[in-house]
């Protein structure tokens, strides 16, 4: 807050949240069914197409796969690409959390 923006043109450094908390933009959220997710069911590194295709880089390449809801914009690409259809897009107002 005390530091002043001395840049004379718009600049930013790569850091989580540089674009603001873009999770606010979301209307629908991805919900993963771990009983269908390939890495979760096989217990080993597998497709991770959700991680690969996520344009925001908010999906982890871990077991289980996790999605950072602070920055997920809810685009639904992960759900579209998931081979076993383990990801469903759920309206925010219908989501459990």
């Amino acid at each position: 807050m005390e530091a002043k923006d001395t840049n004379i043109s718009a600049l930013c450094t790569p850091a989580a949240g540089e674009g603001g908390r873009t999770g606010d933009w979301r209307d629908v959220r991805p919900v993963i069914d771990q009983t269908k997710c390939i890495p979760a069911t096989k217990g080993k590194a597998a497709c991770f197409l959700c991680w690969l295709y996520c344009p925001e880089g908010v999906v982890t390449m871990t077991i289980p796969v996790q999605i950072d809801m602070d920055y997920c914009k809810g685009c639904g690409i992960c759900a579209e690409e998931c081979p076993p259809n383990a990801i469903r897009m759920v309206r925010e107002e219908d989501a459990d959390e």
Partner: protein
């Protein structure tokens, strides 16, 4: 150096390409498929620390318009020549200044030259100005009238130029070790970044550009003074004047038309009319204080322009009126649109307009309208 090599282009880019090819000019020459790309190449190269140049005219400049805003908003000290030509339609290749005047609000400094010596000297000055205030500079000169005529010029000495113009330091150094995103989206509000710095929003960034323009007036005047000291040629800072000390009738314009007004002044002086000229060398930033001083003793002002803001009057005339408003300078201002699409402008025509303005001072009231010089329809 990036340029689109065919119409509308002046011999300028062609000759520079020959210098590069022959090894006389240490530069990379990028031939592009259009002026929009030419400016994009300049933006990219300037961002990573290269001193860049391009040149264009008329519709080529219009095609560049979007990238002109981008260059200014990125605060890149790009220098470009605009060889002033009329814009289509109807198609024209000849001189007027509608092209660059239409780019007035893109955030570029605009300097208008009146002869070939001033062009070469101004380009050198332009880099020094641009690299101090981080605003791109458009060096404008009249197509054909100056671009396709020859006059002997002094080519400044290389070492002397080097002393006058220190190496270009970009405002931001890019390196893979310290990566940055340039011109990411800025929001209507200010926002704290992940490092805890309250970052300026879009409006603050735009304010900084305007603030830099305010500083640029002094920088332009200082640069001209330093150039005159080093090279012995003084082209005027923001404006230049001719016989204005006792002038009652003051003619004004930008570029070669103002030089024509000098010849018209000599004619009028020979007839006993106290005429003078204020040449507007810098159109943006507008020399608001300089014009108030220069026109303070005028009884009548004539603004000759090779462009018009359609639906109103010449943009220079409007700006001039705005600068004089409330300053006590209440001389009538007569606006003349002249020389569009290469229509020849003769000093005797300007002198005649001057005589009419003097006649009107005697009792007659003047309607506030823009006259078209030497233009007859029907």
């Amino acid at each position: 150096m990036a340029a689109y090599p065919i119409t509308p282009q002046a011999s300028l880019s062609e000759i520079l390409s020959r210098y590069v090819e022959g090894g006389e000019l240490k530069a990379e020459y990028v031939r592009v498929e259009g002026e929009h790309s030419a400016m994009t190449v300049c933006i990219s190269a300037s961002t990573v620390g290269a001193r860049v140049f391009t040149a264009t005219s008329s519709n080529g400049l219009l095609y560049m318009h979007e990238q002109l805003h981008w260059a200014a908003g990125s605060r890149l000290p790009i220098v470009m020549c605009c060889v002033n030509r009329g814009v289509g339609a109807p198609w024209s290749i000849f001189n007027d200044q509608q092209d660059s005047v239409s780019q007035r609000d893109t955030g570029w400094i605009q300097i208008y030259c009146r002869d070939n010596q001033e062009i070469i000297d101004t380009i050198i000055q332009a880099y020094r100005i641009a690299e101090q205030v981080y605003i791109p500079v458009m060096v404008c000169y009249d197509g054909f009238v100056l671009s396709h005529t020859m006059m002997p010029v002094h080519i400044p000495d290389h070492e002397q130029v080097r002393r006058f113009l220190p190496p270009y330091k970009p405002h931001t150094i890019l390196s893979p070790e310290d990566p940055r995103t340039i011109n990411s989206v800025l929001f209507p509000w200010r926002r704290e970044n992940p490092q805890g710095v309250l970052c300026d929003g879009y409006m603050e960034m735009r304010y900084k550009l305007q603030a830099a323009f305010e500083t640029a007036r002094t920088v332009i005047a200082d640069t001209n003074r330093a150039f005159a000291e080093s090279f012995g040629r003084d082209h005027g800072g923001l404006i230049w004047t001719y016989m204005t000390d006792d002038a009652e009738l003051v003619m004004t314009g930008m570029g070669s038309i103002a030089a024509e007004a000098v010849a018209a002044t000599d004619m009028l002086r020979a007839e006993g009319i106290k005429a003078g000229v204020v040449g507007i060398r810098v159109f943006r930033p507008f020399p608001k204080d300089d014009v108030v001083r220069a026109f303070s003793r005028a009884h009548a002002i004539l603004a000759f322009e090779k462009a018009i803001s359609y639906g109103y009057e010449g943009a220079l005339c409007s700006d001039l009126k705005a600068a004089l408003y409330g300053t006590g300078v209440n001389a009538p201002i007569h606006n003349y649109v002249a020389g569009l699409g290469g229509r020849d402008v003769k000093p005797r025509e300007l002198a005649e307009a001057g005589r009419n303005a003097v006649a009107l001072l005697e009792g007659q009231t003047m309607k506030n309208e823009t006259r078209w010089l030497n233009c007859y329809t029907g």
